[in-house]
Amino acid sequence: MGTKINVVIDGSAIQVDAGTTVASAILNSGLSRLRQSVDGQARGPVCGMGICYECRVRVNGDSYVRACMTVCEEGMEVRTDA
């Protein structure tokens, strides 16, 4: 599992191990907020299994992608709701 993948999170290029989910990559990069609630509160992953939808981010232009269910791919562009 030495393979590294390059992804871009909120404009910053980072390297992650192959098999890392987008949610884990985001948290590893130092961010804890993946989206904003309707009242503007910071939210991050909770259930880790694709049910709570708190980890929604934009991936390669597609919105409402569950970061915990998505594995990083080379060149992926991720935008949190910051």
């Binding site: 309707v38 919105s63 409402y64």
Partner: protein
């Protein structure tokens, strides 16, 4: 044990709540009975569109009158009623449809409603998400949108503040001759009984020409700015007017949350609550025809509702012929949210023995098409 009220309203949908609201302006002892959640029936399947609709002069008069009443209420409504002037954009796909737009403008003008004709480019500018190359549209800026369930409970809460009572969670088994019976045996009396039970009104007042007309809705996740006005295809009126067994017409509304509410379908299948996938797929095809990118939007929920439908598409507002203590306030088809307030006001006028601002005759039970 019997209790005497001035008026009893059966049905806590938006029409019943509006009746209670306006009745409580005149009477202290108004009772509303609702067996389920407030606004939980057809109201919960209403799009919340407050619209001037010109299928007939009587329809236009009632919708315009109701809009004026709504406009008067908007400044007082709670924020969660979300009143917004999105306006309506009637969309013409081709030259044939666009040719009718001039007549529609005239018709609206005769009732004092200002509209604006948009050509193909102006339509594209006003609604960038629409497919390019549509012939044009008619914008009605005075049309608005509200959140039906909270508007209904706002009106009911105000009625209660003025002295009205609510009995919730109990079913009514019969109403007539100044008496309402509940399933648990309670008897309630009032000189005036209002049947505001919508699609089920004929079960409490036998022989009423009201049938359920099923509609489907879908709602997306939040996409602010995707749609700016309530968009309706000009074919919508045809779908509502013709009593065919099944029809679909494109209707899309931007909600205050940024969600897009999609309709509409009509079918006579009794009270079957199942989602009809075939009909939904026709709605989807239609929607994709007008909004090419909409296929990508995330759908969170689908649901159905039953429009209370009369043969002539006008609601029944007025007393029954053989029992003057029973007033009907039902049969609003797809205009229940809009005309709820007009209905409530007319009902209150009748009960209080007052003249109304509009002619009530077209909505009475006499000379109506029966089943």
């Amino acid at each position: 044990m019997t209790k005497a009220y001035d008026a009893i309203v059966v049905g806590g949908g938006i029409v019943g709540c509006a009746c209670a609201f306006y009745l409580s302006e005149h009477f202290k002892k108004v009772l509303l009975i609702e067996k389920g959640p407030i606004g939980g029936g057809s109201t919960a399947a209403g799009m919340g569109h407050v619209v001037a609709m010109d299928d007939s002069p009587a329809q236009f008069r009632l919708t315009k009158y109701s809009q004026d009443l709504w406009n008067g209420l908007y400044p007082q409504l709670d924020a969660n009623c979300e009143p917004r002037f999105t306006g309506t954009m009637w969309v013409a796909t081709d030259e044939e449809e666009f040719a009718h737009v001039g007549d529609k403008k005239q018709s609206y003008a005769s009732y004092g409603v200002r509209t604006e004709i948009l050509d193909s480019q102006s339509l594209a500018d006003a609604e960038p998400s629409l497919r390019k190359g549509l012939a044009g549209g008619l914008l009605v800026p005075s049309d608005s949108v509200i959140y039906p369930m909270t508007a209904a409970s706002w009106m009911l809460n105000h009625a209660i503040q003025r002295g009205a009572t609510l009995i919730q969670g109990k079913a009514v088994v019969s109403m007539g001759n100044e008496q309402v019976s509940l399933a648990d045996g309670t008897l309630l009396t009032a000189k005036h009984l209002v049947n505001a039970t919508g699609d089920r009104a004929a079960s409490l007042t036998h022989g009423l020409p009201i049938e359920p007309r099923k509609g489907h809705l879908l709602i997306t996740d939040r996409y602010p700015g995707m749609v700016r006005h309530q968009l309706i295809e000009l074919g919508y009126l045809k779908s509502a007017h013709e009593m065919s067994s099944e029809s679909v017409a494109f209707n899309a509304q931007p909600r205050a949350t940024g969600q897009v509410l999609l309709g509409s379908s009509r079918q006579f299948v009794g009270w079957n609550p199942e989602i009809d996938r075939k009909l939904i797929s026709k709605m989807v095809k239609r929607a994709e025809d007008y909004l090419p990118e909409i296929g990508k939007l995330s759908i969170i929920r689908t649901w159905v509702g039953f429009r209370a439908t009369t043969p002539d598409k006008l609601p029944i507002i007025g007393p029954t012929e053989d029992d003057p203590s029973v007033l009907i306030a039902a049969g609003h088809e797809g205009l229940g949210i809009t005309t709820s307030v007009g209905t409530g006001r007319l009902i209150a006028d009748i009960v209080a023995g007052l003249d109304s601002a509009i002619d009530r005759t077209p909505y009475g039970l006499s000379n109506r098409e029966a089943h």
